[in-house]
Amino acid sequence: MKIIKTGMAGSLESSDVLITVDSNTGKGRNISLESTVKRQYGKQILKVVEHTLDLLEISDVTVRLEDKGALDCTIRSRLEAAVYRAAGSETYPWESLT
């Protein structure tokens, strides 16, 4: 999948995460994380992001996460939605990932 525009998903509500996905052509993955639980779960959140991007086969991308304590399942779904939006995808193969 190729990122062609900015895609966003999520919110800044407690227990949610706002994810913004952008292109980063030829420059790999650029992931930035702000989180209310960064000290406790920062590594785990980045692991989920990397893993989800692997499954989506995205290698060049900018991802910005503003996390308000979202669970892993929420982070995964918000990221998928943001990526599909950023790729201009018309179909959402949700189940193929899980």
């Binding site: 639980v37 000290r39 785990q44 979202a70």
Partner: protein, 515 residues
């Protein structure tokens, strides 16, 4: 027998047996506060008013290294502490120990006074906001001492905290110092924490924005304890001192916690006619009281008294005849403030009466049921109400440990997880209340009785409620949120958590990498 002539010419024996007698020397000789100008009707009425806070500070003879105190009845609306600290700082006084009954978000303004060296020690029940982050980041040399409300009263009465000057904001007082908390625009209700300071401080300065006619009865602080009075424009922001009637939460999770807690309490042996209770002001705690009311009405059970932080909801139950009497150390909202001013059975008590463990009998000892909150509770039932899951100070000890140990049944209510943070942890980051005084933890996802309470476990063996062990609740939480990385601390101790008897139950350390 050797005789002395006194000032009115009478012969007074120098000694009677071993008792040495002092001859009378005149009506004014040894009572400097009595007016010396009897009969001069043109002099202003006797009063203790001084024009400015600065004059009051100077007259109080506050010096470097002394201890000053404040109360926190004005909560987040308090102007007094910041006003007085600015004056003290401008006068160049240094090395002050600040012993406030607690500190709130408005007290971020203390940071420059700490940096400047005006304040070098802090003793408080808790702190929040930027000040708490500043302390957690290790910017203060000496650790902050955190006490419980009862522990503070004990320390003040025993002289462990020796208050040189108490600066007490009062909603109303007269020119001679009779003050109460329920008259005037900045009414805050009970002055329970201020009363202890007024009694034990060397010098007492009152600040008020409402001068009442003498005598300002009924009074909570008596004229015979007061040195100086300053009239200021406002002691606080009424909007932030008290809120309107707290509405019952509609948050379904809080309601579920409350239903579980009320079901548990109603099925416990403590729920009987004439029982006593204390509740908090948090969403789940207020809702628990609501559900408990339904049980009380259905079973025709009345409480004999309620203690604590009194809320409008408790007042409502009192006025409906469900609770006979109220003992109030701190009034949480406008309804409670109104009630303490007009209701004889709503009685103001001071912090020592409330919870001092070493006086001859404090009210928490007679409490049957208390409902308390928690930031964290661990597998040993130790409770943290002081530091957040990131290790940063964000709360207060309050009456938590006092009521937990004093009551027959201490019920901790909290959601099992908040955001991505589990309330149940293997080991609480900091301990305010020891697990041996905690009886049950009630969450939205289950109830855990402390295994120490074998009597309760036996009592509930036939009751169908969502019982779990604390280990099972931890497991439930971790399956949802994962296992957190441990917070990294440095070796520097930034806070000492004092148990109510004066011993240190835990320390708070500097959070690594916090600016």
């Amino acid at each position: 027998m050797k005789m002395n002539k006194n000032s009115i010419g009478r012969e007074i024996p120098e000694k009677i047996g071993k008792l040495k007698l002092s001859p009378f020397e005149g009506a004014f000789a040894h009572t400097p506060l009595v007016r010396q100008d009897k009969g001069n009707r043109r002099l202003p009425r006797l009063n203790k008013l001084v024009d400015t806070i600065e004059q009051a500070v100077l007259k109080s003879e506050l010096k470097d290294g002394m201890t000053i105190s404040f109360h926190h009845h004005f909560r987040a609306g308090d102007y007094v502490l910041n006003m007085v600290m600015d004056v003290i700082s401008n006068l160049g006084i240094k090395d002050i120990t600040l012993a406030s009954s607690s500190l709130t978000t408005v007290h971020d303004e203390l940071i420059p006074h700490i940096k400047k060296g005006t304040v070098t020690h802090i003793i408080t029940s808790g702190m929040r906001g930027k000040l708490a982050e500043f302390i957690s980041a290790g910017h203060m040399e000496e650790p902050v001492l955190f006490h419980s409300h009862g522990g503070r009263a004990r320390a003040v009465e025993e002289g462990e905290i020796k208050i040189d000057v108490a600066f007490l904001g009062v909603p109303s007082c007269d020119v001679y110092g009779n003050a109460n908390g329920y008259t005037g625009p900045s009414a805050c209700g009970s002055l329970g924490y201020a009363k202890v300071d007024a009694k034990y401080a060397d010098k007492v300065v009152l600040l008020t924005d409402y001068l009442a006619e003498y005598p300002n009865t009924p009074f909570s602080i008596d004229q015979d304890m007061v040195d100086y009075i300053v009239k200021v424009d406002a002691v606080g922001d009424p909007e932030k001192i008290s809120t309107g009637a707290t509405r019952i939460t509609r948050n379904p999770r809080d309601l579920l916690i409350a239903q579980n807690a009320a079901d548990f309490i109603a099925a416990s042996p403590y729920f009987e006619d004439g029982f006593s209770l204390q509740t908090g002001s948090g969403g789940a705690s207020l809702a628990t009281t609501r559900y408990l009311t339904e049980y009380m009405e259905a079973r025709n059970i009345k409480a004999s008294w309620a203690l604590g932080g009194i809320t409008g909801q408790i007042v409502k139950m009192h006025e409906a005849g469900l609770i006979k009497k109220l003992l109030d150390v701190q009034s949480f909202d406008r309804e409670a403030i109104r009630s303490i001013g007009e209701n004889r059975l709503h009685t103001e008590i001071d912090a020592s009466y409330y919870a001092n463990p070493l006086n001859k009998g404090c009210a928490v000892n007679k409490l049957n049921v208390v409902i308390l909150s928690a930031l964290e509770i661990d597998l040993d039932f130790n409770v943290n109400v002081l530091t957040g899951s990131d290790g940063v100070i964000m709360g207060a000890s309050g009456g938590h440990s006092d009521t937990a140990v004093g009551s027959g049944l201490s019920v901790i209510v909290a959601p099992l997880i908040r955001g991505r943070t589990s309330t149940v942890t293997k080991r609480a980051l900091s301990v305010v209340t020891p697990g041996e005084s905690v009886d049950v933890f009630v969450s939205d996802r289950g109830i855990a009785i402390n295994p120490r309470r074998k009597d309760l476990i036996e009592h509930f063996c036939d009751v169908r409620l969502p019982f779990h062990t604390m280990e099972e609740l931890l497991d439930k939480a971790e399956r949802l949120v994962g296992r957190p990385d441990p917070i990294e601390f440095t070796d520097k101790v930034v806070g000492l958590i004092e148990y109510r008897d004066g011993t240190i139950i835990d320390v708070v350390r500097q959070v690594k990498g916090l600016e």
